[in-house]
Symmetry: D2
Amino acid sequence: MDLLHSYKKTRNRTVALCDTLETEDFVVQPVAFVSPPKWHLGHTTWFFETFLLKPYARHYTAFDDSYDYVFNSYYETVGARVIRTDRGNLSRPSVSDVLSYRNHVDKAMAAFLKASPSPELDSLIRLGLAHEEQHQELLLTDIKYILGNNPLFPSYGPPPPLPTPTLSYESGEFLTVKEGVYEIGFQGTGFCFDNELVRHKVYLETYAISPTLVTNAEYLEFMEAGGYTDFRYWHSDGWAWVNDHGIEAPLYWHKIDGQWQRYGWKGLVAVDPAAPVCHVSYYEAAAYAAWKHLRLPTEAEWEIAAEDFHWGLRWEWTESAYLPYPGFEKAPGAIGEYNGKFMVNQQVLRGASEATSPGHSRISYRNFFQPELRWQFTGIRLAR
Amino acid sequence: MDLLHSYKKTRNRTVALCDTLETEDFVVQPVAFVSPPKWHLGHTTWFFETFLLKPYARHYTAFDDSYDYVFNSYYETVGARVIRTDRGNLSRPSVSDVLSYRNHVDKAMAAFLKASPSPELDSLIRLGLAHEEQHQELLLTDIKYILGNNPLFPSYGPPPPLPTPTLSYESGEFLTVKEGVYEIGFQGTGFCFDNELVRHKVYLETYAISPTLVTNAEYLEFMEAGGYTDFRYWHSDGWAWVNDHGIEAPLYWHKIDGQWQRYGWKGLVAVDPAAPVCHVSYYEAAAYAAWKHLRLPTEAEWEIAAEDFHWGLRWEWTESAYLPYPGFEKAPGAIGEYNGKFMVNQQVLRGASEATSPGHSRISYRNFFQPELRWQFTGIRLAR
Amino acid sequence: MDLLHSYKKTRNRTVALCDTLETEDFVVQPVAFVSPPKWHLGHTTWFFETFLLKPYARHYTAFDDSYDYVFNSYYETVGARVIRTDRGNLSRPSVSDVLSYRNHVDKAMAAFLKASPSPELDSLIRLGLAHEEQHQELLLTDIKYILGNNPLFPSYGPPPPLPTPTLSYESGEFLTVKEGVYEIGFQGTGFCFDNELVRHKVYLETYAISPTLVTNAEYLEFMEAGGYTDFRYWHSDGWAWVNDHGIEAPLYWHKIDGQWQRYGWKGLVAVDPAAPVCHVSYYEAAAYAAWKHLRLPTEAEWEIAAEDFHWGLRWEWTESAYLPYPGFEKAPGAIGEYNGKFMVNQQVLRGASEATSPGHSRISYRNFFQPELRWQFTGIRLAR
Amino acid sequence: MDLLHSYKKTRNRTVALCDTLETEDFVVQPVAFVSPPKWHLGHTTWFFETFLLKPYARHYTAFDDSYDYVFNSYYETVGARVIRTDRGNLSRPSVSDVLSYRNHVDKAMAAFLKASPSPELDSLIRLGLAHEEQHQELLLTDIKYILGNNPLFPSYGPPPPLPTPTLSYESGEFLTVKEGVYEIGFQGTGFCFDNELVRHKVYLETYAISPTLVTNAEYLEFMEAGGYTDFRYWHSDGWAWVNDHGIEAPLYWHKIDGQWQRYGWKGLVAVDPAAPVCHVSYYEAAAYAAWKHLRLPTEAEWEIAAEDFHWGLRWEWTESAYLPYPGFEKAPGAIGEYNGKFMVNQQVLRGASEATSPGHSRISYRNFFQPELRWQFTGIRLAR
């Protein structure tokens, strides 16, 4: 029953996050890396239907066979899928159809969970819920992108039930960690993703890490010092990205009548100097660090030090590429496509953000994105 | 009052054409040349607001100043516009907002028309209505594209109130026209577009033209004879188009279990051998004609012969490029952007189609599209 | 023997045009529409080998079978061809190999011509020579592009043996032609291309045409009046072209220290105000005419009036799209690919230029290019 | 004098590598990542002129000021540069000009070196020579690409003076390395690149590594088992790369009459089953390893084990992304652009290849390329 309770709570939260949307907002896909909200609603449902109900629930009847094609994301094992960039071209299934699909699956799942599935399925169900929590965050970041790139700058309405940051962001002394052999990776008995395993030893040189995130005020200094126009601070790929796309500020920032404003949940607001900078790419994070004659921490440095500072408001770019831990093994079948196949050309982010689902994050969590992306709630922590 | 009646009738028909749509269908733009239905609803309204109400109606209050930016199409004179390919990224204004916009403008126009505007504005109002009728056809062809490219192939519902073709399409003898000096172009006192003027003389060699359109059965012969794989029938640009896009049948055709089906207003149906072929590009029309050792008519040949055959079910590709008639003059200001600036790289189509608004077509009407486009209801008439 | 003499003279001239080139200049292809000089040398030779020697010359041994693949241009009938944009990637065959190929074919052709081929082959041989003359002009324009886009601006050396223009370019009264039925198209017994046939009647309205070409001084007025930044003068496609490519002057013009210079055969020189403007696109020609409240002539207007003015220094853009004349028929086989398949999306140019081979031009000659191209020696004549 | 001797030897070898080329081969650039041979000749010369002669040699006169623009590669500090993809469009400076440039600089450098420059410049000169050795390998791989993609498959002539591999490639038992703290990075007093520093400790889990490279015969098994058509073995980016480019074999492989052949220095030859597979991307290397249920080694694993196996015939892909070592610091100025700015989106390769300059490699050497590139002499070593 605990699992059923978790199931309902997680599933309901996904729909609740869309409460203030207009039907039209569920449909569009302004760039390839954003998915339409109704696709998130359908895809998370498809996960439970495909991996739990169809193989294990007796007498389950699929809601609509064509949905397999529409809501599959990248699971090559499971069959053809709608090319990702085309999702925004699909007006059907309608939002109302997708909500019916959710109800259909939720009813079947409730019955299935009440019937006490074999304990071996527990981890698969928990994976489905963790998957849905990940999509909750993507749903929020995608909604922000859809509304924030509309020339009318519509409000999302009252902010989502997000964690209230009570953290202090007064700048502090860097924390020092002595060189030696440390252990990183998941330990314990709860849920974790395969990419957090195997827990293993690493050797770290002595390093220092900031207890606080870089603020908007600090980042503005970089901008005003010409940071975006001096190639010396940038990776070669980053410099090409800045110039090809005319980048000159974090995402969602607009200079209006000489003042920097940013698009937030309620529309355009003034940039708050004390808040941690948000929506920067890895390239920007690394360039900022270079300008300060500092660097970003590695993911191992982050994990070892994290118990000694507050984290959770921003996904923090690290200097680590996303690679398998020693002893990493892919699960067999479609579930094995979850993480391993992305282990090239991406950077690790650590922490969590104001859009992360409650209870979803942990100290060993490895988030990852391409270095140019910045529609997640990303920020900067410095090391040396 | 006559003009008011026309105004209401035309404006209401536009909305009526959308009766069977879901809200989601109003939003998407699967390719650059298709516009979202809600954009058509807004843009036709913007025309009356911008060219009639704002300059001439006393005390008119604009519905929303930002709409100027959102619903301007290509009128460079009038200010910045949303890049055409981005229209499908905009979830706002919502459909309901756009309908309110229409009501707001319709009320103001009704008052304006009742107050008897100066006769000089008549032709501008009639241009606005002709413009809306053109968008009615585009609305239908865009809806068909949106639904017809959805993997669920949803029905548009009952077909729109379209003309019932009572025409006979039995193949007949080609009609012969003797060489000599003829006159083409608009004559009379009603409304016409600037591109139909000035009526002028042309010299035509003796020619023969088919009284009927090419049927699906006839076009299938071309397909089965390998027409799409033999470069000899194709323009150089057409051959590149066929190969770059893997073209092997008209748009909306799907071979399912060995049978050709096509997407129509009610979903997928079998191809009717007796119906005139539809949704072909100029390249396909010209290749078909070359395969038959025949050719397409010029627009002058079409216009001179058209009184002697039935037309109106398909927009018929001609061998004429879209160029100004002798003595053509652009109107001053934004209205002058209507036609003249497109007079390069396009082919003329003559006739009308099942999607053309009632009363919109006439024998001197010059439609025009790029030679590769085929989402209009286009067909083929042969000449020699 | 007359044909042999013509053959040698034409073939020698092609090589002579390359006298001042470095080996490296024969190889590169800076843009897709330019071909490397060694490709022109090979392709014109391939024409005689493929269409004359292989089918008709007894005991002819091909120079190298792989050349068929390398030097075929667009003749789909004859087999696979090197994709046009890849020509600049081929360092082999070397220039010296290509010259050996020319010698091999020239010897065989000389023997073949001495043996008096059947008279039916005469027109094919003359087509081969006309084809080579066309490539002589392309060779010159491509060389100019290759050198003129090199940051070192190397000189071509002494200008090629081009016609000395003795024409007067003082501005004169427009010539008036009365309305009526006229005849255009090739007449006579000499050589012409298939696209100049059939000679036929056209009806022309009364028109006036300038006896002189637009000069650099006149074109500079347009530039200084903001012609490149005012959309009202431009076709929609032309306006997109101007903005996408940042066009603000004719090709090869550079503003250096406030002075307009142009790249010519000897390197950078000051723009001569009295010379006819050169290297403009159709879009620029049409925009200039619109700015003057005039227009470009149609090709029929040009041909009827051309006896009354000097022409031959510039290819003159006309308002006519490139379309088949009434009664036009493609030759069967590969030769039929010569002209007909290009009859869409191109504009007709009339006249000739300083780079045209001596004796190659005539009053009925129809040159054609896409409206955005301007590396030919193109100019502007006005009409109204 | 020792340095002068090294200088002459290295500089002469670069030119000697081009001995069998035709002039035309020096010019072309078939893809963006390949540079024309004459560019390599010029760019390596530009390095000595820019960083040694101009700042430190009294009375040095630049050969040609415009060369600064032409031969600068990516050194943003030093000024404008020819966009990399445009190098193949430049026929000038000619090969002969570039050789004169080399002579000019070599004479000045000889005088400069005889005059005993201050010892502080030693490392800069050695960097210039190491830089030239790197370009020698690129020169060879670029030449191979230029000739190997020519439809005539010309021979490079006698193979370059490359190391004769005397290594045994009989398959052997995997070598086991016990877990513990190890040290990697450059140590000693000779030359190394900045990216090999600082030598530092790493913790390695117990691992096993193959003493031999994967052979063509072994790789063919993967191909025949359908390795290129089964997504399960591939990274997500790798699978997209395979499908977008239709990859189905290593670079330079051609199936001719049912037999696999490869382009080598002397033209097309049969694939040798016993030779180590060459010209594979990181994606292919990783997919092969996944198919074998093994993995690639990390760069630390490679470096620790390398003393116990033969290496030097192939650049061996590792599972390590190219990242800074702890304590890495960029040099100030243009030299600082050498390595650090590429530390994102690339994979590390270890070892050396048959095209590596004699004496250039060492056990701590870190080569790096994007994961899809394969025109280097890349191969596969397995670990578990």
